[in-house]
Symmetry: C2
Subunit: 228 residues, 2 copies
Protein backbone atom coordinates (compact mmCIF):
# COMPACT_ATOMS: atom_id res chain seq x y z
CA UNK A 1 0.00 0.00 0.00
CA UNK A 2 2.68 2.47 0.95
CA UNK A 3 4.75 1.46 -2.07
CA UNK A 4 1.76 2.06 -4.31
CA UNK A 5 1.17 5.42 -2.65
CA UNK A 6 4.78 6.45 -3.22
CA UNK A 7 4.64 5.48 -6.87
CA UNK A 8 1.46 7.47 -7.39
CA UNK A 9 2.94 10.51 -5.71
CA UNK A 10 6.13 10.26 -7.71
CA UNK A 11 4.39 10.28 -11.07
CA UNK A 12 2.06 13.10 -10.04
CA UNK A 13 5.04 15.08 -8.73
CA UNK A 14 6.80 14.70 -12.08
CA UNK A 15 3.97 16.72 -13.66
CA UNK A 16 5.33 19.78 -11.88
CA UNK A 17 8.69 19.34 -13.66
CA UNK A 18 7.05 20.37 -16.96
CA UNK A 19 9.07 22.96 -18.83
CA UNK A 20 5.77 24.47 -19.88
CA UNK A 21 2.02 24.10 -19.67
CA UNK A 22 0.21 25.04 -22.88
CA UNK A 23 -3.54 25.64 -22.68
CA UNK A 24 -5.90 25.71 -25.61
CA UNK A 25 -8.73 28.26 -25.51
CA UNK A 26 -12.23 28.03 -26.97
CA UNK A 27 -12.07 24.44 -28.16
CA UNK A 28 -15.70 23.43 -27.49
CA UNK A 29 -18.51 25.20 -29.35
CA UNK A 30 -20.95 25.27 -26.44
CA UNK A 31 -18.38 26.87 -24.11
CA UNK A 32 -17.62 29.57 -26.67
CA UNK A 33 -21.31 30.48 -26.76
CA UNK A 34 -21.66 30.68 -23.00
CA UNK A 35 -18.83 33.24 -22.75
CA UNK A 36 -20.04 35.18 -25.80
CA UNK A 37 -16.71 34.65 -27.50
CA UNK A 38 -15.90 34.44 -31.19
CA UNK A 39 -15.36 30.96 -32.64
CA UNK A 40 -11.67 30.76 -33.57
CA UNK A 41 -10.76 29.87 -37.16
CA UNK A 42 -7.65 28.23 -35.77
CA UNK A 43 -6.67 27.00 -32.31
CA UNK A 44 -5.16 29.57 -29.99
CA UNK A 45 -3.32 28.91 -26.80
CA UNK A 46 -1.65 30.44 -23.78
CA UNK A 47 0.70 29.40 -20.99
CA UNK A 48 0.22 28.66 -17.32
CA UNK A 49 3.38 28.56 -15.17
CA UNK A 50 4.34 25.19 -13.66
CA UNK A 51 4.25 27.01 -10.30
CA UNK A 52 0.44 27.10 -10.62
CA UNK A 53 0.19 23.29 -10.57
CA UNK A 54 -1.54 21.90 -7.47
CA UNK A 55 -0.78 18.21 -7.11
CA UNK A 56 -3.21 15.75 -5.50
CA UNK A 57 -3.06 16.09 -1.73
CA UNK A 58 -0.87 19.20 -1.88
CA UNK A 59 -3.35 21.41 -0.09
CA UNK A 60 -6.20 23.79 -0.87
CA UNK A 61 -6.71 26.15 -3.78
CA UNK A 62 -5.73 29.66 -2.71
CA UNK A 63 -8.20 32.17 -4.06
CA UNK A 64 -6.67 35.66 -3.88
CA UNK A 65 -8.84 38.42 -2.43
CA UNK A 66 -11.04 40.17 -4.98
CA UNK A 67 -10.73 37.37 -7.50
CA UNK A 68 -13.79 35.89 -9.20
CA UNK A 69 -12.39 32.37 -9.63
CA UNK A 70 -13.91 30.13 -12.32
CA UNK A 71 -13.33 26.43 -12.92
CA UNK A 72 -12.67 24.88 -16.34
CA UNK A 73 -12.27 21.10 -16.44
CA UNK A 74 -9.89 19.90 -19.16
CA UNK A 75 -8.23 16.75 -20.40
CA UNK A 76 -4.43 17.20 -20.29
CA UNK A 77 -2.02 15.33 -22.53
CA UNK A 78 1.46 14.70 -21.14
CA UNK A 79 4.18 14.89 -23.78
CA UNK A 80 6.53 11.92 -24.03
CA UNK A 81 8.94 13.15 -26.67
CA UNK A 82 9.90 16.32 -28.46
CA UNK A 83 7.35 17.61 -31.00
CA UNK A 84 8.32 20.27 -33.52
CA UNK A 85 6.43 21.41 -36.64
CA UNK A 86 4.05 18.46 -36.53
CA UNK A 87 1.92 17.93 -39.61
CA UNK A 88 -1.77 18.48 -38.66
CA UNK A 89 -2.68 15.26 -40.47
CA UNK A 90 -0.07 13.20 -38.62
CA UNK A 91 -2.45 11.53 -36.17
CA UNK A 92 -0.01 8.75 -35.41
CA UNK A 93 2.81 11.22 -34.73
CA UNK A 94 0.60 13.16 -32.34
CA UNK A 95 -0.60 10.15 -30.38
CA UNK A 96 2.91 8.63 -30.33
CA UNK A 97 4.16 11.82 -28.71
CA UNK A 98 1.78 11.38 -25.75
CA UNK A 99 3.09 9.42 -22.77
CA UNK A 100 -0.05 9.70 -20.70
CA UNK A 101 -2.83 11.97 -19.52
CA UNK A 102 -4.12 13.79 -16.48
CA UNK A 103 -7.21 15.73 -15.60
CA UNK A 104 -6.68 19.42 -14.93
CA UNK A 105 -8.77 22.36 -13.79
CA UNK A 106 -7.77 25.55 -15.57
CA UNK A 107 -8.73 27.90 -12.75
CA UNK A 108 -9.17 31.42 -14.04
CA UNK A 109 -9.50 34.80 -12.34
CA UNK A 110 -12.40 35.73 -14.59
CA UNK A 111 -12.62 39.36 -13.53
CA UNK A 112 -8.87 39.80 -14.01
CA UNK A 113 -9.09 38.08 -17.40
CA UNK A 114 -12.05 40.23 -18.53
CA UNK A 115 -10.15 43.37 -17.57
CA UNK A 116 -7.05 42.13 -19.45
CA UNK A 117 -9.13 41.34 -22.55
CA UNK A 118 -10.68 44.80 -22.50
CA UNK A 119 -7.27 46.47 -22.26
CA UNK A 120 -5.51 44.14 -24.69
CA UNK A 121 -3.21 42.94 -21.92
CA UNK A 122 -1.78 39.42 -21.45
CA UNK A 123 -3.82 36.68 -19.75
CA UNK A 124 -0.90 35.26 -17.78
CA UNK A 125 -1.76 36.89 -14.45
CA UNK A 126 -5.44 35.83 -14.63
CA UNK A 127 -4.38 32.27 -15.42
CA UNK A 128 -1.17 31.95 -13.44
CA UNK A 129 -1.82 32.28 -9.72
CA UNK A 130 -0.27 29.67 -7.44
CA UNK A 131 -2.64 26.66 -7.06
CA UNK A 132 -4.68 27.70 -10.14
CA UNK A 133 -3.92 24.41 -11.89
CA UNK A 134 -5.19 21.50 -9.78
CA UNK A 135 -4.25 18.24 -11.47
CA UNK A 136 -5.07 14.59 -10.97
CA UNK A 137 -2.57 11.79 -10.78
CA UNK A 138 -0.87 10.69 -13.96
CA UNK A 139 -3.22 8.55 -16.11
CA UNK A 140 -1.33 5.78 -17.94
CA UNK A 141 -1.65 6.08 -21.68
CA UNK A 142 -3.17 2.63 -22.11
CA UNK A 143 -6.12 3.60 -19.90
CA UNK A 144 -7.37 5.90 -22.66
CA UNK A 145 -7.65 4.15 -26.01
CA UNK A 146 -9.05 7.23 -27.76
CA UNK A 147 -8.64 10.66 -26.14
CA UNK A 148 -11.43 11.99 -28.39
CA UNK A 149 -13.94 9.58 -26.91
CA UNK A 150 -13.88 10.07 -23.15
CA UNK A 151 -16.12 12.08 -20.86
CA UNK A 152 -14.81 14.77 -18.57
CA UNK A 153 -16.90 16.10 -15.70
CA UNK A 154 -16.82 18.54 -12.82
CA UNK A 155 -19.19 18.89 -9.88
CA UNK A 156 -19.53 21.66 -7.34
CA UNK A 157 -20.98 20.56 -3.99
CA UNK A 158 -22.08 17.33 -5.66
CA UNK A 159 -23.97 19.09 -8.44
CA UNK A 160 -22.80 18.44 -12.00
CA UNK A 161 -21.63 21.63 -13.71
CA UNK A 162 -19.61 20.26 -16.61
CA UNK A 163 -20.03 16.86 -18.27
CA UNK A 164 -19.16 16.38 -21.90
CA UNK A 165 -17.49 14.08 -24.35
CA UNK A 166 -14.13 15.09 -25.77
CA UNK A 167 -15.59 14.24 -29.18
CA UNK A 168 -17.00 17.78 -29.04
CA UNK A 169 -13.54 19.36 -29.40
CA UNK A 170 -13.48 21.77 -32.35
CA UNK A 171 -9.82 20.95 -33.00
CA UNK A 172 -8.55 17.50 -32.12
CA UNK A 173 -5.18 16.72 -30.57
CA UNK A 174 -3.17 16.28 -33.82
CA UNK A 175 -4.27 19.72 -35.01
CA UNK A 176 -3.59 21.22 -31.55
CA UNK A 177 -0.09 19.72 -31.38
CA UNK A 178 0.55 20.88 -34.93
CA UNK A 179 -0.43 24.49 -34.31
CA UNK A 180 1.38 24.63 -30.98
CA UNK A 181 4.55 22.95 -32.20
CA UNK A 182 4.84 25.28 -35.20
CA UNK A 183 5.22 28.08 -32.64
CA UNK A 184 6.90 26.42 -29.69
CA UNK A 185 8.63 23.05 -29.56
CA UNK A 186 6.90 20.69 -27.14
CA UNK A 187 9.39 18.97 -24.85
CA UNK A 188 9.17 15.69 -22.93
CA UNK A 189 7.14 16.32 -19.79
CA UNK A 190 5.27 19.32 -21.17
CA UNK A 191 1.55 19.45 -20.47
CA UNK A 192 -1.13 20.41 -23.00
CA UNK A 193 -4.61 21.32 -21.77
CA UNK A 194 -7.10 20.65 -24.54
CA UNK A 195 -9.84 23.14 -23.67
CA UNK A 196 -13.01 23.09 -21.59
CA UNK A 197 -16.62 22.23 -22.47
CA UNK A 198 -19.68 24.25 -21.43
CA UNK A 199 -20.68 24.80 -17.84
CA UNK A 200 -17.78 26.84 -16.45
CA UNK A 201 -18.65 28.95 -13.45
CA UNK A 202 -17.46 30.40 -10.15
CA UNK A 203 -16.25 28.52 -7.12
CA UNK A 204 -16.48 30.31 -3.79
CA UNK A 205 -14.94 29.56 -0.37
CA UNK A 206 -16.62 26.55 1.19
CA UNK A 207 -17.41 24.91 -2.15
CA UNK A 208 -16.16 21.39 -2.72
CA UNK A 209 -15.12 20.57 -6.27
CA UNK A 210 -14.78 17.07 -7.62
CA UNK A 211 -13.82 16.26 -11.16
CA UNK A 212 -12.80 13.32 -13.24
CA UNK A 213 -12.94 11.33 -16.42
CA UNK A 214 -14.97 8.37 -17.66
CA UNK A 215 -13.90 5.91 -20.32
CA UNK A 216 -16.66 3.75 -21.74
CA UNK A 217 -18.90 4.99 -18.93
CA UNK A 218 -16.45 3.90 -16.21
CA UNK A 219 -14.54 6.41 -14.12
CA UNK A 220 -10.72 6.22 -14.07
CA UNK A 221 -9.53 6.45 -10.46
CA UNK A 222 -6.26 8.16 -11.46
CA UNK A 223 -8.25 11.00 -13.05
CA UNK A 224 -9.95 12.10 -9.85
CA UNK A 225 -9.54 15.64 -8.54
CA UNK A 226 -11.03 16.46 -5.13
CA UNK A 227 -10.83 19.98 -3.74
CA UNK A 228 -12.35 21.01 -0.45
CA UNK B 1 40.71 28.02 -22.73
CA UNK B 2 38.61 24.97 -23.41
CA UNK B 3 37.86 24.59 -19.73
CA UNK B 4 36.74 28.18 -19.58
CA UNK B 5 34.62 27.66 -22.65
CA UNK B 6 32.96 24.62 -21.12
CA UNK B 7 32.19 26.44 -17.90
CA UNK B 8 30.64 29.34 -19.81
CA UNK B 9 28.51 27.00 -21.87
CA UNK B 10 27.38 25.09 -18.81
CA UNK B 11 26.11 28.15 -17.00
CA UNK B 12 24.40 29.53 -20.10
CA UNK B 13 22.79 26.13 -20.72
CA UNK B 14 21.38 26.14 -17.19
CA UNK B 15 19.33 29.19 -18.14
CA UNK B 16 17.20 26.95 -20.33
CA UNK B 17 16.29 24.83 -17.29
CA UNK B 18 14.18 27.70 -15.92
CA UNK B 19 10.75 26.57 -14.77
CA UNK B 20 9.45 29.87 -16.11
CA UNK B 21 10.44 33.12 -17.75
CA UNK B 22 8.46 36.11 -16.50
CA UNK B 23 8.58 39.30 -18.58
CA UNK B 24 7.58 42.74 -17.39
CA UNK B 25 5.78 44.98 -19.87
CA UNK B 26 5.88 48.78 -20.17
CA UNK B 27 8.51 49.45 -17.54
CA UNK B 28 10.24 52.43 -19.20
CA UNK B 29 8.28 55.65 -19.81
CA UNK B 30 9.86 56.48 -23.15
CA UNK B 31 9.10 52.99 -24.54
CA UNK B 32 5.45 53.29 -23.47
CA UNK B 33 5.15 56.53 -25.44
CA UNK B 34 6.70 55.10 -28.60
CA UNK B 35 4.12 52.28 -28.72
CA UNK B 36 1.21 54.59 -27.80
CA UNK B 37 0.45 52.47 -24.78
CA UNK B 38 -1.11 53.46 -21.47
CA UNK B 39 1.25 53.90 -18.52
CA UNK B 40 0.47 51.07 -16.09
CA UNK B 41 -0.45 51.97 -12.51
CA UNK B 42 1.14 48.72 -11.45
CA UNK B 43 3.61 46.37 -13.12
CA UNK B 44 2.11 43.78 -15.44
CA UNK B 45 3.84 40.74 -16.79
CA UNK B 46 3.55 37.75 -19.09
CA UNK B 47 5.36 34.48 -19.74
CA UNK B 48 7.69 33.29 -22.45
CA UNK B 49 8.25 29.51 -22.67
CA UNK B 50 11.76 28.22 -21.86
CA UNK B 51 11.64 26.63 -25.33
CA UNK B 52 11.99 30.14 -26.79
CA UNK B 53 15.43 30.64 -25.21
CA UNK B 54 18.28 30.85 -27.72
CA UNK B 55 21.60 30.30 -25.97
CA UNK B 56 24.84 31.91 -27.16
CA UNK B 57 26.18 30.02 -30.16
CA UNK B 58 23.03 27.91 -30.52
CA UNK B 59 22.23 29.12 -34.01
CA UNK B 60 20.21 31.81 -35.73
CA UNK B 61 16.92 33.41 -34.79
CA UNK B 62 14.13 31.78 -36.81
CA UNK B 63 11.68 34.40 -38.00
CA UNK B 64 8.43 32.69 -39.08
CA UNK B 65 6.97 33.74 -42.41
CA UNK B 66 4.63 36.71 -42.22
CA UNK B 67 5.94 37.81 -38.84
CA UNK B 68 6.98 41.41 -38.18
CA UNK B 69 9.69 40.64 -35.63
CA UNK B 70 10.72 43.39 -33.18
CA UNK B 71 13.66 43.44 -30.77
CA UNK B 72 13.41 44.54 -27.14
CA UNK B 73 16.66 44.51 -25.15
CA UNK B 74 16.17 43.74 -21.46
CA UNK B 75 18.16 43.08 -18.32
CA UNK B 76 17.24 39.64 -16.95
CA UNK B 77 17.55 38.67 -13.29
CA UNK B 78 18.19 34.99 -12.56
CA UNK B 79 16.46 33.80 -9.39
CA UNK B 80 18.63 32.05 -6.81
CA UNK B 81 16.01 31.03 -4.29
CA UNK B 82 12.27 30.77 -3.93
CA UNK B 83 10.40 34.08 -3.69
CA UNK B 84 6.79 34.19 -2.52
CA UNK B 85 4.69 37.18 -1.46
CA UNK B 86 7.71 39.48 -1.24
CA UNK B 87 7.13 42.82 0.43
CA UNK B 88 7.62 45.60 -2.17
CA UNK B 89 9.82 47.49 0.29
CA UNK B 90 12.07 44.49 0.95
CA UNK B 91 14.98 45.60 -1.23
CA UNK B 92 17.41 43.32 0.53
CA UNK B 93 15.10 40.32 0.13
CA UNK B 94 14.76 41.02 -3.59
CA UNK B 95 18.48 41.42 -4.23
CA UNK B 96 19.31 38.41 -2.03
CA UNK B 97 17.01 36.31 -4.21
CA UNK B 98 19.06 37.09 -7.34
CA UNK B 99 21.92 34.71 -8.16
CA UNK B 100 23.05 36.53 -11.28
CA UNK B 101 21.96 38.26 -14.43
CA UNK B 102 21.88 37.89 -18.19
CA UNK B 103 21.01 40.06 -21.12
CA UNK B 104 17.97 39.01 -23.08
CA UNK B 105 16.18 40.11 -26.24
CA UNK B 106 12.41 39.79 -25.88
CA UNK B 107 11.72 39.17 -29.56
CA UNK B 108 8.10 39.88 -30.37
CA UNK B 109 5.92 39.13 -33.38
CA UNK B 110 4.53 42.66 -33.33
CA UNK B 111 1.82 42.08 -35.93
CA UNK B 112 0.65 38.95 -34.10
CA UNK B 113 0.71 40.84 -30.79
CA UNK B 114 -1.23 43.80 -32.19
CA UNK B 115 -3.89 41.44 -33.56
CA UNK B 116 -4.08 39.65 -30.18
CA UNK B 117 -4.44 42.96 -28.33
CA UNK B 118 -7.25 44.06 -30.62
CA UNK B 119 -9.13 40.80 -30.09
CA UNK B 120 -8.42 40.52 -26.36
CA UNK B 121 -6.46 37.32 -26.94
CA UNK B 122 -3.36 36.12 -25.07
CA UNK B 123 0.13 37.35 -26.02
CA UNK B 124 1.81 33.98 -25.62
CA UNK B 125 1.95 33.09 -29.32
CA UNK B 126 3.37 36.51 -30.29
CA UNK B 127 6.02 36.21 -27.59
CA UNK B 128 6.69 32.49 -27.56
CA UNK B 129 8.14 31.32 -30.88
CA UNK B 130 11.23 29.11 -30.76
CA UNK B 131 14.42 31.28 -30.70
CA UNK B 132 12.44 34.40 -29.70
CA UNK B 133 14.48 34.79 -26.52
CA UNK B 134 18.17 35.17 -27.37
CA UNK B 135 20.17 35.37 -24.16
CA UNK B 136 23.75 36.14 -23.22
CA UNK B 137 25.93 34.05 -20.99
CA UNK B 138 25.25 34.10 -17.27
CA UNK B 139 26.56 37.31 -15.68
CA UNK B 140 27.91 36.70 -12.17
CA UNK B 141 26.05 38.68 -9.54
CA UNK B 142 29.15 40.49 -8.31
CA UNK B 143 29.71 42.00 -11.76
CA UNK B 144 26.65 44.21 -11.22
CA UNK B 145 26.78 46.12 -7.94
CA UNK B 146 23.49 47.93 -8.64
CA UNK B 147 21.08 46.56 -11.28
CA UNK B 148 19.34 49.96 -11.37
CA UNK B 149 22.52 51.69 -12.51
CA UNK B 150 23.72 49.87 -15.62
CA UNK B 151 23.29 50.65 -19.29
CA UNK B 152 21.71 48.25 -21.73
CA UNK B 153 22.10 48.66 -25.45
CA UNK B 154 21.21 47.08 -28.76
CA UNK B 155 22.56 47.81 -32.24
CA UNK B 156 21.26 46.74 -35.63
CA UNK B 157 23.93 46.57 -38.35
CA UNK B 158 26.21 48.54 -36.05
CA UNK B 159 23.71 51.37 -35.55
CA UNK B 160 22.56 52.02 -31.98
CA UNK B 161 18.81 51.52 -31.62
CA UNK B 162 18.43 51.16 -27.86
CA UNK B 163 20.79 52.55 -25.21
CA UNK B 164 19.47 53.48 -21.80
CA UNK B 165 20.18 53.30 -18.13
CA UNK B 166 18.16 50.90 -16.01
CA UNK B 167 17.63 53.83 -13.62
CA UNK B 168 14.77 54.73 -15.98
CA UNK B 169 12.70 51.71 -14.90
CA UNK B 170 9.25 52.83 -13.71
CA UNK B 171 9.14 49.95 -11.22
CA UNK B 172 12.39 48.68 -9.76
CA UNK B 173 13.26 45.06 -9.11
CA UNK B 174 11.91 44.79 -5.53
CA UNK B 175 8.50 46.05 -6.67
CA UNK B 176 8.60 43.75 -9.72
CA UNK B 177 9.47 40.69 -7.63
CA UNK B 178 6.79 41.65 -5.13
CA UNK B 179 4.01 41.96 -7.70
CA UNK B 180 5.09 38.82 -9.55
CA UNK B 181 5.56 36.70 -6.42
CA UNK B 182 2.13 37.64 -5.06
CA UNK B 183 0.72 35.93 -8.15
CA UNK B 184 3.23 33.22 -8.94
CA UNK B 185 6.01 31.87 -6.73
CA UNK B 186 9.42 32.48 -8.27
CA UNK B 187 11.59 29.36 -8.16
CA UNK B 188 15.37 28.93 -8.23
CA UNK B 189 16.50 29.24 -11.83
CA UNK B 190 13.51 31.29 -12.98
CA UNK B 191 14.26 34.26 -15.21
CA UNK B 192 12.71 37.71 -14.87
CA UNK B 193 12.97 40.17 -17.77
CA UNK B 194 12.71 43.70 -16.42
CA UNK B 195 11.31 45.54 -19.44
CA UNK B 196 12.74 47.39 -22.41
CA UNK B 197 13.66 51.05 -22.92
CA UNK B 198 12.78 53.14 -26.00
CA UNK B 199 14.04 52.32 -29.47
CA UNK B 200 12.40 48.98 -30.21
CA UNK B 201 11.97 48.20 -33.87
CA UNK B 202 11.95 45.52 -36.55
CA UNK B 203 14.77 43.19 -37.50
CA UNK B 204 14.70 41.75 -41.00
CA UNK B 205 16.63 38.89 -42.62
CA UNK B 206 20.25 39.88 -43.17
CA UNK B 207 20.35 42.23 -40.19
CA UNK B 208 23.02 41.66 -37.58
CA UNK B 209 22.03 42.43 -34.03
CA UNK B 210 24.49 43.00 -31.22
CA UNK B 211 23.50 43.84 -27.69
CA UNK B 212 25.04 44.11 -24.29
CA UNK B 213 25.42 45.86 -20.98
CA UNK B 214 27.80 48.45 -19.56
CA UNK B 215 28.64 48.91 -15.90
CA UNK B 216 30.36 52.18 -15.03
CA UNK B 217 30.83 52.77 -18.76
CA UNK B 218 32.60 49.43 -19.28
CA UNK B 219 31.03 46.60 -21.20
CA UNK B 220 30.65 43.22 -19.48
CA UNK B 221 31.85 40.49 -21.86
CA UNK B 222 29.39 37.91 -20.43
CA UNK B 223 26.49 40.17 -21.37
CA UNK B 224 27.17 40.15 -25.10
CA UNK B 225 24.56 38.90 -27.56
CA UNK B 226 25.55 38.59 -31.22
CA UNK B 227 23.00 37.52 -33.81
CA UNK B 228 23.74 37.28 -37.50
MG1 LIG C 1 -9.22 26.70 -20.22
MG1 LIG D 1 12.41 22.18 -15.49
MG1 LIG E 1 9.58 43.12 -23.44
Amino acid sequence: MSLFFRRTMASAASLKQASKVVCVGRNYGDHIKELNNARPRQPFFFLKPPSSILLPGAGPVLRPKGVDMHFEIELAAIIGKQVRNLDPNDEKGALDAIKGYAMAIDLTARNVQNEAKKKGLPWDIAKGFDTFLPMSDFIPKNAIANPHDVEVFLKVNGETKQDASTNLMLFQIPRLFSDISRVMTLEEGDIVLTGTPAGVGPAVPGDTISAGIRVGGKELPEGRIELV
